[in-house]
């Protein structure tokens, strides 16, 4: 599984960084994420995609 973030949509709500801090971080005004999702974090990645108010997170299997 790979994470893709549409930076044009992302408005740094930070919901992803709260539910999946292993994968997403906010550093000042930038979202930093780990693109490759290890097996054990896939559920967290799915949750992160669902809580994004901008629908900016896409998961590619």
């Amino acid at each position: 599984m790979k994470i893709e973030v549409d930076h044009k949509r992302c408005e740094l709500h930070g919901q992803c960084a709260f539910v999946a801090p292993e994968l997403f971080k906010i550093d000042g005004d930038t979202l930093i994420f780990q693109a490759d999702v290890p097996e054990e974090l896939q559920q967290k990645a799915r949750t992160a995609a669902k809580v994004c108010p901008q629908l900016a997170i896409k998961l590619v299997e």
């Binding site: 408005e11 740094l12 709500h13 930070g14 919901q15 960084a17 709260f18 906010i26 550093d27 000042g28 799915r46 669902k50 809580v51 108010p53 629908l55 896409k58």
Partner: protein, 389 residues
């Protein structure tokens, strides 16, 4: 663990969609029907008061995994529930037998009971169609009056200013968004509106709405009369529970649920989620109903999990959160800032473009409000944890 049979989700908004997705993710492979009274597939509502008003168009449909095998019944509403016979009756006359039911019928815009409020040309904003209609009306006019300075009313005011309209915002409270933000931060919101040229008419109520020629005249109890081309009622939402009136479920300004989202008066096969649910959040003194985006999704997931596996269902006790975008500023809140009796600014101060404010009651943190600092919010989310109210 319920894995077969049929589950019906009543309501095709965010809560209903997340519930349906969760059922499949957790291995439920029986029949899954989602009933929605709008003809559209589930769509995202936060843009309605913002980008949809600004552009007059746009697609906010949620991406939906086609492999979920959901039978959609759209443009159909629920009419009656027979709990004993596990039967749902729909507006098209059909009935569905279910093994599990998820109630996610949401809420609708309320029109206050005052003369003129029921006019068809007085706008409300709840659905995408409402937003498109309001956007069309704004396009060809100069002024708008908004009754209700809650979150939705404030965002409509902001979008209207961006569209170059003359805006009046009316509320019975002394400050906008007072009930959710408390007075210190409400004051900041009031200043934002004033700086952007909005006429605030606060601490007054509307006694009458009339239309003369092409303009509305809103008579206020402070003696003023506000004239506008467009009039919007942003006076809150009411849960859609009428279809349950004759059922055994307990209704109390929403579907009353226990802490795990099971409907009280049901048979253990009925859960509720989102705007329609009033549940026993363990951290609050009285059952709460929450109409915010984040809760709809989270409760949809929790209710579906509880329905599938009641024996292992835990109390649903989320840290509440909401946000609002006005005049290019992003305000985010967590917990229950309105329960605080004092507020402490840990970063910045009320007039600053960025700040973090913590609300306290008897020395305990009840919530946090953050302006333009998402990283600041994250820090407090982690620190406040679950027991805040």
């Amino acid at each position: 663990m319920l894995t077969r049979g049929g589950i019906v989700v009543v309501g095709a908004g965010l809560a209903g969609l997340r519930a349906a997705e969760t059922l499949r993710e957790r291995g439920f492979d029986g029949g899954l029907v989602v009933v929605g009274d709008e003809t559209r597939q589930p769509y995202n509502r936060p843009p309605l008061s913002k980008s949809i008003l600004l552009k007059g168009a746009g697609d906010t449909t949620f991406p939906i995994d086609e492999t979920l095998d959901i039978e959609w019944k759209l443009g159909v509403s629920a009419k009656h529930l027979d709990v004993r016979n596990r039967t749902l009756v729909l507006s098209d006359g059909s009935s569905i037998l279910y093994d599990g039911l998820i109630i996610a019928t949401g809420s609708r815009a309320v029109r206050p009971s005052l003369p003129g409020a029921d006019r068809a040309d007085v706008h409300v904003l709840r659905t995408l169609d409402d937003a498109l209609r309001l956007a069309r009306a704004l396009r060809s006019t100069d002024s708008v009056a908004i009754i209700g300075a809650g979150l939705v009313g404030c965002e409509i005011a902001s979008s209207s200013v961006e569209l170059g309209k003359t805006v009046t915002l009316i509320d019975s409270e002394p400050m906008p968004m007072l009930r959710v933000l408390g007075r210190h931060v409400s004051h900041v919101i009031a200043n934002m509106h004033r700086l952007n040229g909005v006429q605030l008419e606060l601490s007054c109520t509307v006694s009458r709405i009339e239309k003369r020629l092409n303009a509305f005249e809103v008579a206020l109890t402070n003696g003023k009369s506000i004239k506008s081309d467009v009039l919007v009622l942003a006076t809150g939402g009411s849960p859609n529970t009428e279809w349950l009136d004759a059922s055994t479920l307990t209704l109390d300004k929403g579907v009353r649920c226990d802490s795990r989202c099971f409907a009280i008066g049901g048979d253990g096969r009925i859960v509720a989620a989102g705007d329609v649910a009033r549940w026993e959040h363990p951290d609050y003194d009285a059952p709460i109903r929450v109409g915010h985006w984040t809760n709809a999704g989270e409760q949809g997931v929790a209710a579906a999990n509880a329905l599938l596996d009641p024996d292992n269902a835990l109390p649903f006790k989320p840290l509440l959160s909401f946000w609002t975008d006005q005049y290019g500023q992003r305000l985010q809140a967590i917990g229950a800032p309105w329960l605080g009796s004092e507020i402490v600014f840990t970063k910045g101060s009320p007039g600053d473009p960025k700040f973090v404010a913590i609300s306290l009651r008897s020395g305990r943190i009840t919530g946090a409000i953050v302006m333009n600092m998402p990283a600041g919010l994250l820090e407090w989310r982690t620190r406040i944890g679950a027991n805040y109210a």
